[in-house]
């Protein structure tokens, strides 16, 4: 579903991402690990076509994102560290608006409330302005948008950082349910525990290069941390 072929991004001679090649199949949860500046966010921005690659290509559902910027986004959903919503609008109005722009303009209130329930948001919150929402609630609205859109691939950029353990756990459960339903997930994260818990594969990035790939059932949590730290040593 998500493919990168020798994907490279350089800014004024500085290589942010170096010949990344990876594939995320439906049902996969691929966790990108690495220090700040390792190229994780750059990868996600390239898939979203927010920046254009210096060389190589990023494909979504077999289509090059630079050539079909709108068509490829129809399959994508994006959840950043904090999902940004319109604070003057209610949660439901936000969901309805983003779903409409994503190509689902005819959802009924019942359907929208259904997505709200599905991601574990209280129905009473639906008609409250988003200005009053906690971060965990915003992240859930982000997932609800992805659900309403029927996204086939999810791009997550440190979606659980700053969430309390309970909210973080709920978020992981949602991810598992989505990937179980055949969604391909690419997640950038610092959270090794979450990566082990909800990921099917991990990739370790260093200075823009993917230095290792493993499946998560290869090792336990402690092993993952050890492998990660070994790679981080200079």
């Amino acid at each position: 579903m998500l493919e990168a072929h020798a994907l490279t991004k350089r800014y004024n001679g500085v290589t942010a991402l170096n010949a990344l090649t990876l594939t995320v199949a439906p049902g996969d949860v691929f966790c990108l690990l690495g220090a700040n500046g390792a190229g994780k966010t750059t990868t996600i921005n390239l898939f979203l076509n927010f920046i254009s690659p210096t060389s190589g290509s990023a494909l979504v559902n077999g289509l090059d994102v630079t050539k079909e910027p709108l068509e490829t986004k129809r399959h994508l959903a994006y959840i950043p560290e904090t999902v940004m919503l319109y604070k003057n609008l209610t949660g439901l109005e936000n969901l309805e608006y983003f779903a409409a722009l994503a190509g689902k303009p005819d959802l009924t209130r019942e359907q929208l409330i259904g997505y709200f329930r599905e991601v574990g948001l209280a129905v009473e919150a639906a008609d409250r302005r988003v200005g009053t929402y906690s971060k965990g609630m915003r992240q859930k609205v982000g997932i609800a948008i992805a659900l309403a859109k029927g996204a086939k691939a999810l791009l997550l950029d440190e979606p659980t950082s700053g969430l309390d353990p309970k909210a973080s756990n709920e978020f992981s459960d949602l991810l598992r349910r989505l990937s179980g339903g055949g969604v391909a997930v690419l997640m950038a994260t610092h959270d090794l525990f979450r990566a082990k818990e909800s990921g099917t594969r991990v990739g370790i990035m260093k200075h823009g290069t993917l230095v290792a790939q493993h499946t998560t059932d290869e090792f336990g949590h402690a092993d993952l941390e050890r492998v990660y730290l070994e790679h981080m040593r200079d």
């Binding site: 979203l48 927010f50 709108l70 986004k73 129809r74 994508l76 959903a77 994006y78 950043p80 904090t82 999902v83 940004m84 919503l85 319109y86 003057n88 609008l89 109005e93 608006y97 983003f98 409409a100 722009l101 994503a102 190509g103 303009p105 948008i145 859109k149 791009l155």
Partner: protein, 468 residues
Amino acid sequence: MILRIARKELLDLSRDGRFRMLSALVLVVSVVSLAAGWKTYTDLAAQHRTAQQATREQWLNQPKKNPHSAAHYGVYAFKPASQMAMVDTGIDPYVGVAVWLEAHKQNEMKYRPAQDRTAVQRFGSMNGAEVLQVLVPLFIVLMAFSAFAGEREQGTLRQLLSVGARPRDLALGKALGIAGGLGLILLPATALSVVALALSTSEGLLADDPWRVVALGAVYLTYFAVVTALALWVSAWASSSRLALVVLLTFWFANSVVASRVVSDLAAWLHPTPSAVEFQKGLEADLNNQEEMEERIERKRDELLKQYNVASVDALPIAFSGVSLQEGEEHGNEVFDKHFGALFDQYEQQNRVFQWSAIVAPMLATRGLSMGLSGTDFGQHRHFITAAETYRRDIQRTLNGDIAKNQKAGQVYMAGRELWDQVPAFTYEPPPAGWVLGQYSVALVVLGAWLVGAVALMMRAATTALVD
């Protein structure tokens, strides 16, 4: 999609306390300016009706007298108040509304409302055109400056683009949302003005040429579209909403406040007009050129003597005193045409400078078209003056012709009501909308170019806008 975006923008705006305060303020100012315009119009229209009637009655009820005395007695011609002057008073308050038509002289217009005002009123009067040309663009800028830049700062632009929103649709949707916000204010104001128009006139809702109303509406809508597109363009490329606001406020100030003053100086420098004293001196010098006038009368006398084949003027079948009076008039008319014509041509050249200057400040195109379509620009002032002057010359010709025909040598000739009746009442028909648009062809083209350019810039900036 575009409508969906517009609806959200409007919903978002309407929940913003600052927007509500601001729009209430703009609405109040619009209504006040409209009320002031309505009052001015109804006052003027009433005064115009009574004065026009009074001057006609005075003319008709003159006692028996020599026609030339009647010519000196004179009549007033009043410029009818155009209904649309309610929106844009233009130069009317400064140039006067009435002219006295008498023998030998082309008088200047009198009764300038601005003369009767105190200094405070002069500053305090906000007419509809100022609201539309100055206040509304500011309102648009305040609604639009954060449209893209603000969303970029809040991170919602990322969210929007990630779901696959088409940037072009975003730009158009936001423009439409702003138009909606503006409509919330302008629609009630427009509805009120229609009611005011209906109440103000016995001649029907649109006594003026309806095409003028349509064209005026189109001009303002075009102008607002230009300002909106420019504001969205700046908001899309500016790195922060603060920068967008600063850039847009600078443009607003230069365009709506500074430009007209600078260009007015520029126009006066390019096409200078004489001072009132100089003008009067030049005019009188030519008028008092007795030689030229006498030559003219002699020529006419020789011509008549030859035509009737007689030896002296006393033998002519017509009274030569009437003929020579008319020749004097013709001499004066030539002088007036030369001097007033040159002066008025300069004013029209200045007007062209304003129209071309709209290339740098679109408000100048709007300003000219607004005055023109409201019937309160210099072009229509001149149109009226020309009509009144033609009427004055007709009166003189009628009266002098009557003298030539009826004056008997050695008698004091007295004319009466039959002659006064031969002079028709003065009627004035303002030019149609097409005539006005013809006068402002440059402004129209420039404003159209601004619209095309601004929308193109907005679309391009929206598609190339960076997400952060």
